[in-house]
């Protein structure tokens, strides 16, 4: 029999990116909050980025693919029917522990793709409605960048000054200027200034953001939110693997059963928020079947797990004459470009892509530009001539091209029929194929990125691979106004269960073509604000 924990006003399933934002906000508003997190707190001293083995450890124990990490808390993922694996980090801070820290708001057009381009669906909210929440979380996440980016409406003014674009950005910027193409200094959730009393350090440009920051100077929510939240009374229960969300007799969510160290527990709550990520949240909803919801909790639309979007990105690299010190952080982007972000019908596809000029963390990452199975380098990395190729590592620039991935119900997450996690719960199965439109976006943009390298003076350039995984797992619990065609409403409340909310990237109506963390945080802030502001009027468990 499950042991019973103290009742909470709000139970948050997960303690990741969105959970951190919501937990701290709700605690500050006076709610008692419990987060159930299957992983652990991260000790920055354990992170590999400042150790000689950093790239090898980053390719195993700190790899963003849970099937490679294979920690106790990493539930297996079957991606045998997916064009690419799925990445995530399971632990306090969630995938913000391993993200690059690139901070990009979605564009106004992202919320109106049906209206503008006749595809997918409009979001049930607009850029302007989300704007105050973007601004709020940009302060909380200590975003650095330069105000005035003409790719955005006026008002995108990062609270901290930009990091240097470095020689890498300078060389590429001159090339982009020759072409008359947009570029802008990088906007990153990487603080460029110290703040007295802050838990977070100042970026010291290790350039290893995607392995976690050993300086604690990247805005992951374990650093920016959850430690403060704990001081405000939030209880983060680690090693707690949720098995299912429970309902009371009237069909309201009243808590969750979870497994911890081999024992079953029950956490009761008046209101439940799902924040387990674009794979974890649909997995748990599909596991939470009942007589009332035989096909999964909050799944009357049949869309829980459907419409998975992954942002399969491509990389174009160039070699230059000079040592560009391309290993210097932040990583994070040095510069970005939105030149080909908005739709242009003449290109033969809809929507577009964001470009990020990123540093290259070390020699193994550089070597991958030749060794990736889809690299078009035209020569082998190893063997005769390898020394010359190695000597070019620090003379390399890379553009990452992130395409907007449109939703399709044939791309989905489901429960695996036989594979289980270490607690015997069903693993997730991912079915995902790169769509023709996404492929065209990537092809077009990689071709333009090669032109950018040429304009910037590259002596050789090539496509170093495509179908790279981003960890941008979106769309599996769609936000919309119509309960028949969406899972949650415009405030993240499920249509089917009036006190069950979802705040992670599952709710994205479309993927947008930008890194999702800014929008994840803004939506979480908006939902938490809605809950706090309407506390007396919301339906809760009996």
């Amino acid at each position: 029999m499950a042991s019973k924990q103290d009742h909470a006003d709000v139970l948050i399933v997960g303690a990741g990116t969105a959970a951190g934002v919501a937990a701290r906000h709700l605690a500050e508003a006076g709610f008692s909050v419990v987060c159930l997190e299957q992983g652990e707190w991260v000790d920055p001293g354990d992170l590999p980025g400042n150790k000689p083995e950093y790239e090898l450890v980053g390719g195993k124990d700190w790899h963003p693919d849970p099937n490679i990490r294979r920690r106790r808390e990493d539930y297996p993922l079957d991606h045998s029917e997916s064009d690419l694996p799925v990445w995530m980090y399971n632990g306090v801070g969630g995938s913000s522990v391993l993200y690059g820290g690139i901070w990009a708001r979605a564009l106004p057009s992202d919320f109106r793709v049906r209206t503008l381009d006749g595809v997918a669906d409009d979001w049930p909210l607009s850029y302007d409605e989300l704007l105050p929440y973007y601004q709020a979380v940009e302060r909380e996440m200590r975003v650095s960048g330069l105000a005035g980016n003409p790719a955005y409406p006026p008002g995108f003014d990062p609270p901290l000054p930009p990091a240097p674009i470095h020689r890498t950005g300078q060389v590429m910027a001159e090339g982009m200027n020759k072409l008359g193409w947009h570029w802008w200094p990088g906007t990153n959730s990487l603080p460029t200034l110290n703040r007295e009393g802050s838990r977070e350090g100042q970026c010291v440009r290790y350039g290893v953001c995607r392995m976690g920051c050993p300086e604690g100077a990247k805005s992951s929510t374990d650093v920016t939110h959850l430690r403060d939240a704990v001081e405000r009374g939030v209880q983060v229960i680690t090693r707690a693997r949720v098995a299912r969300v429970t309902l009371d007799d009237s069909g309201r969510a009243n808590g969750a059963i979870y497994l911890r160290d081999g024992a079953e527990h029950f956490q009761s709550a008046s209101l439940v928020i799902m924040a387990a990520g674009g794979i974890g949240t649909p997995r748990l909803l599909l596991m939470s079947t009942s007589e009332r919801f035989p096909n999964g909790l909050a799944n009357s639309s049949g869309l829980v797990g459907k419409r998975l979007m992954l942002h399969p990105y491509g990389v174009a690299v160039g070699l230059y004459d000079d040592d560009l010190e391309n290993w210097l952080g932040p990583a994070g982007e040095h510069i970005g470009s939105m030149q080909f972000y908005e739709s242009d019908a003449s290109r033969g596809f809809v929507r577009g892509a964001k470009w990020s000029l990123l540093p290259i963390a070390g020699p193994l990452e550089a070597a991958e530009k030749w060794t990736h199975p889809l690299s078009l380098a035209g020569e082998q990395m190893w063997g005769d001539g390898s020394a010359d190729r190695m000597k070019s590592f620090v003379r390399m620039l890379q553009w990452h091209v992130i395409p907007e991935d449109l939703p399709e119900e044939t791309n989905y997450v489901s429960l695996h029929p036989t594979l289980t996690d270490s607690d015997g719960l069903p693993a997730a199965k991912v079915n995902y194929r790169v769509s023709e439109n996404t492929r065209k976006i990537v092809d077009f943009n990689l071709a333009r990125a090669l032109e950018a390298h040429d304009a910037a003076g590259a002596t050789k350039s090539w496509i170093a691979g495509r179908n790279f995984m981003t960890g941008h797992n979106t769309g599996t619990a769609k936000m919309g106004n119509d309960p028949a065609t969406s899972v949650v409403d415009r405030f993240g409340r499920t249509h089917d269960v009036p006190n069950l909310y979802i705040i992670d990237a599952s709710v994205f109506t479309t993927s947008t073509g930008v890194n999702p963390t800014a929008t994840i945080c803004a939506l979480a802030k908006r939902t938490a604000t809605h809950i706090a502001s309407n506390a007396g009027k919301l339906e809760v468990a009996s």
């Binding site: 980025g49 400042n50 083995e53 106004p108 008359g180 200094p185 020394a387 620090v394």
Partner: protein
């Protein structure tokens, strides 16, 4: 499957074989040492395999392939590209950990290190009106109907 601690199992003969195979991948030149000269088959492979325990089976399997080193590796590459790349990752990961190699490639220190931006550095790179052409073109975002 139990992780293999191959680094403690490699005897002199295996290390000599590993050095010969590694030299096929990394023969050196242009101021860089060969894999064997960089002691890849000594302390560095030990550290590489300890850092990524998934690589030990690949090293073990390739070491078991008979024949001249170049032909043996060519056969592995033809037969099992994933195995070849895992072996190459172990060897190159070991090689790049050698501080002399890292230094010769232009990377600072034995690992990434703190290099905070200097005062005025961000502004320095934006001098000479480098952003002016971008600003002169004006807004490029697409307007949406209310």
């Amino acid at each position: 499957m139990t992780d293999l601690d191959l680094s403690t199992e490699l005897g002199d003969a295996s290390r000599a074989r590993l050095a010969a195979l590694a030299d096929v991948l990394i023969p050196g030149g242009s101021g860089l040492p060969s894999a064997s000269a960089a002691d890849v088959a000594g302390q560095w492979i030990n550290r590489a395999l300890a850092a990524n325990t998934d690589l030990a089976p690949a090293v073990r399997e390739v070491l078991a392939v008979a024949g001249a080193p170049a032909e043996a590796l060519a056969e592995v590459r033809r037969r099992d590209h994933v195995l070849f790349e895992a072996f190459a990752l172990a060897v190159s990961g070991a090689y790049f950990m050698n501080p002399a190699v890292r230094n010769a490639l232009g990377y600072p220190g034995i690992a990434p290190r703190r290099m905070p931006a200097a005062e005025g550095e961000a502004e320095y790179y934006l001098e000479d009106d480098i952003l002016t052409p971008v600003l002169d073109r004006g807004h490029i975002y697409r307007s949406v109907p209310n």
